[in-house]
């Protein structure tokens, strides 16, 4: 008897342990897929997700905790922390609330880190909220909204009717091994279910997107929660797992979940399946002459989003006319999340299509609310270069239908669709870091890179370009915005919208530049991107043209070492020298095709071949001619001869 008595006790103790570990394991399973990785913001959570679990079961040591219920899971610090706080008796239910926290617009990303509330419920009902991450109030962020998207309840309902230790209940169904086996089955199905509920998608999006989102997932583990009101509960659906009967009670898990998460944009950062991009329009660099339809600037309200990406990469597929595209140079795959509502929240005005810089300037001018997080004057809006790489038609529809297909729906941006005809599957994630990436991306492409190329080509002509060099990183961008703003405002019927335009407004801002450019008229010309193109075109096309020209330009230096020496020697040369030499060169070919070879070769560039110098001079001449002709033409008609423009012109206003 004694042995059976001790057996009963040991069995009861084991049962107790099973129940305790059951709580632990279920918490682990739930939080493992609901608690996004905070630290690795720019690191794809996929790797973390996949690496430990994708390793075969034979590899890597199994921790003692893993062996419970034969389910080895990833590390989940959230689970461990919560357990420490929560540790209650097995008779208390464990309620895990998964909360969607949505941040308002005015929100400083610098100090942001997603907040996790961990509430410890003591029996004395005292609550100690622990906030991980920066305090929201310090940031001045108001209006943070929290919404419970899931409520998991894990509990052990004990039977009070009979004495649990009596042997009468020890049927074969309730043996320890049986209970254990059934708990294993229950936890397996919990593991699978957790991945099928709508909140999982949010979790994955948060993890995979390296950028800061408008929302985050928090969780709260407690024993006592305010039950939902009837009205609230109506918004939820319930899924209950079949309880596992034990000798003294039963283990239950159930979940209330919201089947539709309409406020959340949970589009994946990459399209679900590869899609062919219809009507793909390449980057302006690749195809500088292509005119892209511009946005109808009919929407006055800043919160409307036609601007967003209505650029070439607009997905206004509902409109018949313009080809919608996705823009290629997006630095990260999560670019698509640089999104519409993001922009709308920033009060982007509707933008017209073709030039990036006009958008830049326009936004810069019209959005003061920008300044807090878009400090640089040449901020290229996230909108323009980084459209959602959502492809119109196929993928968008898929996204749309995705939201309809599941038992829960996650229509990404119904608010967008209400405003305009954009697909509801557009994402609403703020991607501030994405923005800055784009800024870097676009800026150099348009100006810096160009300048670098220019400079590299003309290393031996550094004296000529030194004026440019002085302000190479700044002026082109500024001049972009300025000239482009002018051009934009004038509806593109201004003088040749060239970033390297020799214009007073531009140049006066730059110290030595004005003189250098004014005096050496020809000096500025090499920078004219439109030198070879007889038609007017947009800024980006102009830059693209410049890039093309530079790419096609023959190498100027034949002998690296000697030219390097020459360039280095020539750098400290004064302006006057360069003026003289330049004017010598410029005067030489005027009206003629062949400058004196001796001048070319002996003057500035003794190491270049004559042919190269001749080529160069020819190009300068052409550019000069073009500039003059452009200048003349710009005062004439306002209309562009470009055939590609159709309705876009109407909208410009």
């Amino acid at each position: 008897m004694a042995s059976s008595h001790s057996n009963i006790h040991s069995e009861a103790a084991k049962m107790e342990q099973i129940i305790t570990e059951f709580y632990t394991k279920s918490l682990h399973i739930i939080l493992e897929s609901r608690s996004p990785y905070m630290s690795s913001r720019n690191f794809s959570g996929e790797q973390i997700l996949s690496s430990p679990s994708s390793s075969s079961s034979s590899s890597s040591s199994v921790r003692p905790r893993d062996k419970w219920f034969n389910l080895a899971l990833r590390e989940c610090p959230a689970a461990l922390e919560n357990l420490d706080f929560w540790r209650q008796s097995n008779l208390e239910p464990m309620v895990i609330d998964v909360i969607l926290v949505q941040r308002p617009v005015n929100w400083d990303t610098v100090n942001f880190s997603p907040q996790r509330d961990i509430v410890k419920n003591l029996s004395s009902k005292e609550r100690y909220p622990f906030c991980w991450g920066s305090d929201q109030e310090e940031i001045g962020c108001e209006g943070k909204s929290e919404k419970i998207v899931e409520r998991w309840v894990v509990q052990y309902e004990s039977r009070k009717v009979r004495d649990c230790s009596s042997g009468s209940r020890r049927s074969s169904n309730n043996t320890l091994s049986n209970v254990y086996k059934k708990s294993i089955l229950l936890l397996r199905s919990l593991y699978a279910t957790v991945r099928l509920l709508p909140a999982y998608k949010i979790f994955r999006d948060l993890n995979s997107s390296g950028q800061i989102c408008m929302f985050s997932l928090a969780h709260r583990v407690s024993s006592f929660v305010e039950p939902f009101t009837r009205k609230e509960e109506a918004e939820f659906q319930r899924f209950g797992f079949t309880p596992v009967d034990t000798s003294c009670g039963r283990l239950c898990i159930s979940v209330l979940y919201r089947s539709s998460l309409s406020d959340v944009n949970s589009e994946p950062s990459t399209p679900m399946s590869p899609q062919v991009i219809p009507d793909y329009v390449g980057s302006p660099l690749a195809d500088p002459l292509k005119r892209l339809p511009s946005l109808p600037i009919s929407h006055g309200s800043p919160s409307s989003l036609p601007f967003s990406r209505r650029h070439s990469w607009s997905y206004d597929h509902l409109k018949a006319s313009p080809p919608s595209v996705s823009f290629s140079p997006s630095p990260t795959h999560s670019e698509p999340h640089v999104s519409i509502s993001n922009l709308s929240s920033r009060h982007y005005p509707p933008m017209s299509l073709p030039p990036h810089p006009p958008e830049t300037s326009l936004i810069h001018k019209k959005n003061t609310s920008f300044d807090e997080y878009c400090p640089s004057p040449n901020f290229t809006p996230s909108a323009s270069p980084s459209p959602p790489i959502y492809i119109p038609g196929g993928h968008l529809k898929q996204g749309l239908l995705r939201s309809e297909s599941a038992p829960f729906s996650t229509p990404a941006a119904k608010l967008l669709s209400s405003r305009q005809n954009l697909s509801p599957s557009s994402p609403i994630k703020i991607t501030r870091s994405g923005t800055s990436k784009i800024e870097k991306n676009m800026g150099p492409i348009h100006s810096g890179t160009t300048m670098e190329k220019l400079l590299s080509l003309g290393k031996d002509d550094s004296r000529r370009y030194s004026g440019v060099k002085l302000s190479s990183n700044n002026s082109p961008q500024v001049s972009f915005s300025r000239s482009s703003s002018r051009s934009f405002q004038d509806d593109f019927d201004d003088e040749f919208p060239c970033p390297f335009d020799v214009e007073d407004v531009d140049m006066t801002d730059r110290g030595s530049r004005p003189e250098s450019f004014d005096q050496k008229g020809l000096l500025s010309e090499p920078l004219e991107p439109g030198g070879f193109f007889p038609i007017k075109k947009s800024q980006d096309a102009a830059v693209g043209a410049l890039v093309c020209m530079l790419k096609k330009a023959p190498p100027l230096r034949q002998d690296l070492s000697s030219t390097t020496n020459l360039s280095e020697a020539s750098r400290p040369e004064s302006w006057s020298n360069s003026v003289q030499e330049t004017s010598r060169i410029s005067k030489a070919p005027s009206g003629q095709n062949a400058p004196s070879p001796s001048v070319a070769s002996s003057g500035l560039l003794p190491l270049k071949t004559t042919a190269d110098a001749l080529e160069e001079l020819r190009s300068y001449k052409e550019m000069k001619n073009l500039l003059l002709s452009q200048g003349a033409r710009s005062h004439a008609s306002a209309d562009y001869p470009s055939p590609a423009e159709t309705s876009s012109r109407d909208s410009n206003g």
Partner: protein, 202 residues
């Protein structure tokens, strides 16, 4: 011990969707029957927004993939038919080896029937062969129809997964005890012949 049978909801799939759908379903079932120590592996479907779980065992993965390939070959020979794949779990009962029979008896304790209706949508261009490796959408009259169909299939697939989960939850008693050092119960996947149209699948 009785044999529990679960008939899964029929899914209408196109040829290129078979592999993903079958992998998803079969692995989900096996995961729930791999009661040894597992390190689960989350797999995202490409065609649908569903994440399913594999038990992580390489052998299992290979076996399932092989069977799927066989099934696809079979489907190519019998197009536009409803078909079933049966995943059965059994216990090995060593029969008393007598002098003329030494076979090992299998006692099936669970059978899952995956019901598929492989359709072949009319294409713009006629192309005879469907290579099983090709995961390319056949031409459809409109992409919208395809999207709708895809979405419907995703919802149905999700329903099937929930169906599996519910079945696993409700029927636990028939599951044999877990053996030491055995990761999963022995199972087999059979591809029956074509199913008569009168077959009721639910």
């Amino acid at each position: 011990m009785n044999c529990e049978v679960c008939q899964l909801k029929e899914l209408e799939v196109e040829h290129f969707e078979i592999r993903e759908v079958l992998r998803c379903i079969l692995h989900t079932i096996v995961f729930h029957r791999a009661l040894g120590l597992v390190r689960p592996k989350d797999i995202d479907l490409e065609l649908f927004e569903i994440t399913y779980v594999q038990c992580g065992d390489v052998e299992v993965e290979k076996k399932i993939d092989d069977k799927i390939e066989q099934f696809i070959s079979w489907v190519e020979k019998h197009p536009n038919k409803k078909s079933q794949i049966c995943l059965s779990f059994y216990e090995v009962k060593n029969k008393q080896p007598s002098w003329f029979t030494n076979k090992i008896e299998r006692l099936y304790w669970e059978q899952w029937y995956v019901n598929l209706n492989v359709i072949q949508l009319p294409k713009v261009h006629s192309s005879k062969s469907h290579h099983s490796k090709v995961v390319v959408d056949p031409g459809e009259s409109t992409s919208e129809e395809r999207s709708i169909r895809r979405a419907t299939l995703e919802a149905s697939l999700r329903d099937v997964l929930f169906q599996i989960i519910k079945f696993v939850n409700e029927k636990k008693d028939h599951v044999p005890p877990i053996s030491e050092n055995v990761m999963y119960f022995p199972y087999e996947i059979t591809i029956p012949r074509s199913v008569p149209s009168a077959f009721a699948s639910f």
